[in-house]
């Protein structure tokens, strides 16, 4: 502490303790990336909250068209939900392997996660194509407009998550598990688990409650 700067006091008395510029024991995040990314996720959460509110308001306005009970295929949604949940835990395993500095295992689990995410996306696109083919496209009723907007926005997030994931796999292949890549994988971990969290709201609020009489 000998190099600690202490301003001369007018009283000529030496201060009993060296000056400290932060509260002792306080956690002081020097690297704010994860916090910043968390704030982004929270703002994304607000976007979804608005879309959920829109669906909550319009979700029963069928305009004499098909209702959720007519359209939704719950077994398909159950498969979709399991795919996304499985991809969450496989991403968790990728993070555990990253901590052990095993590049191969990390890449393997990331690939599995990406495939599960792609499977989820494929099923969702199949469902959308099926709905549009049946004449239940987004222009059919307010219910379907809000449905496509909410579920489509989630699907778009998953799409960009997969793009990010593939980018990270290339990055890890090229540069290894360097600090920057670890940080990015941490952010993607938050993003991916957050998408699964939003999906819990989607399958409950949209699909399950949509088929209730």
């Amino acid at each position: 502490m000998s190099d600690t700067y202490a301003p001369p006091l007018t009283g000529g008395q030496t201060p009993p303790q060296p000056l400290s510029f932060h509260v002792e024991g306080e956690h002081h995040p020097q690297n704010g990336t994860l916090l910043g990314f968390w704030v982004y996720l929270m703002s994304d959460c607000l976007v979804f909250a608005c879309l959920f509110a829109t669906y909550g308001v319009l979700g029963r306005s069928y305009a004499a068209g098909p209702s959720g009970a007519d359209l939704f295929d719950l077994p398909l949604v159950a498969v979709n939900t399991s795919l996304l949940l499985l991809s969450s835990i496989t991403y968790g395993f990728a993070m555990l392997e990253m901590r052990r500095n095993r590049i191969g295992a990390t890449q393997g689990w990331l690939a599995v996660t990406g495939l599960l995410g792609a499977g989820f996306l494929g099923l969702e696109l199949y469902e959308f194509a099926h709905l549009i083919h049946e004449g239940a496209g987004p222009q059919r009723s307010a219910f379907l407009s809000s449905f496509f907007t909410l579920v489509g926005t989630h699907g778009l997030h998953v799409t960009f998550g997969i793009v990010w994931l593939v980018t990270m796999m290339v990055q890890v292949q090229l540069h290894g598990l360097i600090p920057a890549n670890r940080r990015r994988l941490m952010c993607l971990s938050l993003f991916w688990h957050f998408l699964d969290l939003i999906w819990v709201g989607v399958f409950t609020f949209v699909y399950l409650m949509g088929v209730l009489p």
Binding site: H27, C45, G56, L85, L96
Partner: protein, 148 residues
């Protein structure tokens, strides 16, 4: 400087050495000596616990709806919403590893603020629009007959 000595102490800890060096982190006492430098840590057991809980909390609502366990839609809706809230908490704890300590509590603060806004947005929109709908002009003669 105080910060530098803390940093050196951090580095000298046997575990987390790599991570502390990676991020140049210092200046915190550490409530458990590690965990902050490389973000929140998960364990294999934690992930599996979260996965099993989430799977159970997903299966029950699907079962409730697909087999029409309750006669009343309202009861079913309330029960599956409760399951969703519990599952979201499970995801936050076991997958996102959020607790009051992460990032000095700023994560939790942001989450609470967001939750307040989400609750206001959702309940406010649905509440207002429901009353607006029921106070609107009836859309058809049929509705007019059913007016209170």
């Amino acid at each position: 400087m105080t910060v530098r000595t803390d940093h050196m102490a951090n580095l000298s800890q046997a575990h987390g050495m790599q991570h502390a060096a990676d991020h140049g982190h210092g200046g915190h006492g550490g409530h458990d000596g590690h965990g902050e430098d490389d973000g929140p840590h998960g364990t294999f057991k934690g992930y599996v616990t979260g996965f099993v809980l989430a799977a159970i909390l997903t299966a029950i609502p699907f079962w409730l709806v697909m087999n029409r366990v309750f006669d009343s839609s309202r009861v079913t809706a309330l029960v599956i919403l409760a399951f969703a809230v519990v599952q979201i908490v499970v995801h936050i704890v076991y997958f996102l590893h959020l607790d009051a300590k992460s990032e000095s509590g700023w994560n939790m603060l942001a989450l609470i603020f967001t939750l307040v806004l989400v609750v206001i947005t959702l309940s406010g929109s649905i509440w207002i629009m429901y009353h607006l709908n029921s106070n609107m002009m009836p859309a058809s003669i049929h509705d007019m007959r059913n007016m209170p």
